[in-house]
Symmetry: C2
Subunit: 225 residues, 2 copies
DNA sequence: ACCTGAACACCGTTCAAGT
DNA sequence: ACCTGAACACCGTTCAAGT
């Protein structure tokens, strides 16, 4: 039965478009996780039957591809800066923020076979910054592979942490410790109690240590060449 | 209807066990991808109905947890070696090989909340090697985070490459180039044509460049402390 | 103790039918 | 042109019933 309220809600809502579908999907995945993103739930969120979505995306893979490309477009690529290093540093920090905002993105990259336009633009911009910074093609390939492996790997590790460990390390570490006898894993126990359990510890802070080690190493190699 | 052949096959087969279920699941995921690993297909492979599997694993998550822990146990942790650096290098290379053998493993780590015994043993061994090598707790935490982010991130990147790019780069790069006009992404085009398309190029070879840069950087910081 | 068949509540996706 | 309802072939998982 179609009530007046239904009809009102339907006429009031903005018309569907691929863009609206993609942003609604991102919002759902951000808030409730990628598992909660089903065509039926997404349709429900948009006040529409699941089948209507197929008027705007070819299928679920197309939906996921679109989401990933939007995520890519959120990374800061501005190439004004004193040198390649500061540009790469800003990009890396921005990528990490994006991956923290959209925890599903790192897991989704895996299966996306075809890179979208934002992704291609991203590749081009990064390689361009390195080349203009004096890197040879080979060195630019090395550098890019290294930086992105670190960025995405860090996001993966961060995401795998027991939820609590990201913000309130101490409590999480305690429940963690309870799971095994300290004698069995002495070094691990030492690290948990003597480091991760300290208040104020946030695994996210580890990012800049590795990033700077990598950027400094690349700088050294570039200068030597 | 139960035929003689059915009965024979069933009596001939080894009795099911958690171990057999886990190894069959790994074989299926290795060969046909994680998407192909369904309880029904796994049961079929073992000559059993899907429901029988629940006698040996609590549910699918338990199955995946078990697979991940076996994968972890395949990483070489032997701690004989001249120094922390060579131990860490061998571990990293071994981890990368494991992740290449089991491409599903890196994607699965994401959702595994509870680390298995092999995983905990792994953590303890790595931290132990670093501590014995003269790293402070803080530096060991930095180093571990950096190395593993790189290892898993590299595996993720490697897995995301279009299939062909892993072995036969030139063909893959050509079809890649056909997808966009070179003028639009000049630096990307330069890299593809001038680097990735060269015969003999294998993205997997990039791993050691980054690994050694990281290990050398860590060594420098350790020596300075 | 282990395995099975039927059933349940979900998926993504198709297709003819509505407006 | 866009949306819907019913249907299809799949999932993971349960439960009572078989041996």
């Amino acid at each position: 039965m179609t009530t007046h309220a239904d009809r009102d809600a339907r006429s009031r809502r903005a018309p569907l478009s691929k863009e609206r579908v993609l942003y609604a999907a991102m919002g759902l995945a951000d808030k409730e996780g990628l598992d909660s993103l089903t065509m039926r739930r997404l349709g429900q969120k948009l006040g529409v039957e699941a089948m209507s979505l197929y008027n705007h995306v070819a299928n679920k893979d197309d939906l996921l591809d679109g989401m990933v490309d939007i995520a890519f477009s959120e990374i800061d690529l501005s190439s004004n800066g004193p040198d390649w290093k500061s540009i790469m540093r800003r990009r890396a920090m921005s990528a990490r923020e994006m991956l923290a905002r959209h925890p599903w993105a790192v897991g989704l990259m895996e299966s996306r076979a075809t890179a979208g336009p934002a992704n291609l633009r991203h590749h081009d911009s990064v390689i361009g910054s390195l080349r203009k910074g004096g890197f040879s093609i080979e060195m630019a390939a090395h550098a890019y592979s290294l930086m992105d492996s670190y960025i995405y790997g860090f996001a993966l590790q961060h995401r795998n942490m027991p939820v609590g460990a990201r913000k309130q390390a101490p409590e999480a570490a305690q429940t963690f410790l309870r799971r095994f006898r300290a004698e069995e894993y002495p070094y691990l126990a030492e690290m948990v109690t003597g480091h991760a359990m300290k208040s104020g510890y946030d695994y996210g802070d580890e990012f800049e240590f590795g990033l700077d080690l990598i950027l400094n190493g690349l700088e050294r190699l570039r200068d030597a060449a």
